[in-house]
């Protein structure tokens, strides 16, 4: 820290400064985590297929943060004086908002895993890291239960060669996956984002300015979303 930083901190904290501004060099600030969590939530809710498990330990990190805040709230509830009461309401409201986001993100992932469990399990080798350990265990168990249920209720009565759940006879795979060509709304978060787009009448290179929103096919923008050039809205 040099003298200009000190001067800055004196002049800029006159209450008008962005309260959530963070220095870019330090470990991810609360605000940066919130932005990552929000982006992960919106992307996951809008994309047709399951996105890779958030990088940089985002989820464990946020879970730990929420847990420590809950502990802090419990400490505060101990000394209930009316003035700190309102502060407590604010802290708890914020806590609930974070919990909502985290829960929503995980549940949105679960609903995709529920729907296409067999698909995500079958592509496991090539797409390592799409599911977390827990999610993989969940998907396996889900699929095992489903198989047992089908076997017990009707598959058991079929001839042995018709009992498979993953046949690819006739060129059609029995395992249904998400529709990769489904349309999505995507926004560029970097300047001059380019991607190859497949259209009905013509294919072409699309260039986007920062902040621009387009309707495109998921398959075409998936890579951009993965490497942080685009986000879904």
């Amino acid at each position: 820290m040099d003298i200009s930083d000190i001067l800055d901190s004196v002049t800029s904290t006159s209450n008008r400064a962005d309260p959530f501004s963070s220095s870019p060099t330090s470990t991810p600030s609360g605000q940066a985590l919130l932005q990552s969590l929000t982006r992960a939530y919106i992307n996951e809710r809008s994309s047709p297929s399951l996105l890779p498990w958030p990088a940089n330990n985002l989820i464990p990190h946020i879970s730990a943060l929420i847990k420590s805040q809950i502990d802090a709230v419990e400490l505060l509830t101990g000394d209930m004086d009316p003035r700190s009461n309102f502060a407590l309401i604010i802290i708890q409201t914020e806590l609930e908002r974070w919990k909502f986001l985290l829960r929503g993100l995980l549940r949105a992932r679960l609903s995709k895993i529920d729907r296409f469990a067999a698909f995500y399990l079958s592509e496991a080798e090539s797409e390592e890291g799409r599911m977390s350990e827990d999610e993989r265990a969940y998907a396996l168990r889900h699929q095992a239960l489903l198989k047992a249920h089908y076997d017990a209720s009707f598959l058991g009565a079929f001839p042995a060669n018709l009992r498979g759940l993953s046949d690819t006879a006739g060129g059609i795979s029995m395992i249904e996956g998400p529709d990769a060509e489904k349309g999505v709304f995507a926004r560029a978060i970097q300047d001059e984002v380019m991607f190859e787009a497949m259209g009905r009448e013509s294919d072409g290179l699309v260039e986007m300015k920062r902040g621009e929103v387009v309707v495109a096919r998921w398959k075409d923008v998936e890579e951009g979303v993965g490497n942080g050039e685009l986000e879904l809205v």
Binding site: R200, D203, G211
Partner: protein, 241 residues
């Protein structure tokens, strides 16, 4: 356990994200800084203005601990100007969104990729002539929660409704030229969050419907362009129908 909501953000979720927008308040009571998960809040000292996330501002407003300063674009004169722009100057495209407050420089900064709702587009120093991404929700929430802080709330309400009508018509019309620009990508510069949420089912429905109808034609065209290389691919595409 799985989320029962359909894919794509619902209007409720959009409103939730809108509540993360920064807004300027004039506190009426002192409040010390609080250590929130998202960072410490500023110390509130009346009558010094402070920027807070909307959810917190609403909480303070409801308890009469602060007044909310409506963003400059929510004034009747600004809205009238924007409406005139939407109807007369550019009857086919949305009015431009506010410029990104953090310019792209050669040095990469974490602020480069910040997007709404984390851009300060509704504080008291926001540009008055552009509708930010969360304009509709923010306007409605403020009219609901603090109509006493807004100049001429009745007129503002009418203007917001007019803007919404004009822009929804543009949104629907945008499905007509899905393939105009090549690549089947349709650009919607300046669109709002709630408009995306409302138009999503319709627009994506049209898009997916057209795609499925033209799947075999599209595959044939691509095959022709690739010189007959994509034989397997076209078969797959037809199977999807």
């Amino acid at each position: 356990m799985a989320l029962p909501l359909p894919p794509g953000l619902t209007p409720m979720e959009v409103a939730f994200f809108c509540e993360m927008e920064m807004i300027t308040v004039v506190p009426r009571q002192r409040l010390e800084s609080l250590e929130l998960l998202g960072g410490p809040t500023p110390v509130l000292k009346p009558p010094q203005r402070a920027n807070l996330p909307l959810w917190l501002a609403l909480l303070l407003k409801r308890q009469r601990r602060a007044n909310i300063l409506p963003p400059p674009w929510l004034l009747p004169t600004s809205l009238e100007r924007i409406l005139r722009y939407e109807t007369e100057t550019s009857p086919n495209a949305f009015s431009p969104p506010p410029p990104h407050p953090y310019a792209v420089t050669a040095r990469q900064a974490p602020t480069d990729t910040i997007s709404p709702p984390f851009l300060p587009s509704s504080t008291d120093d926001a540009p008055p002539d552009c509708l930010p991404y969360h304009w509709l929700e923010l306007g409605e929430i403020l009219l609901e929660a603090c109509s006493d802080d807004i100049t001429d709330p009745g007129h503002v309400r009418t203007l917001l409704r007019d803007l919404r009508e004009v822009r929804m018509a543009k949104m629907r019309a945008s499905t007509k030229d899905f393939d105009a620009e090549g690549g089947g990508v349709n650009s919607l510069v300046g669109v709002g969050a709630m408009e995306v949420a409302e138009g999503r089912q319709f627009i994506l429905g049209v898009m997916d419907g057209l795609r499925k109808l033209g799947a075999s034609k599209e595959a044939a065209r691509r095959e022709q362009e690739a010189g007959g290389e994509g034989g397997d691919l076209s078969e797959d595409d037809e199977m999807e129908m």
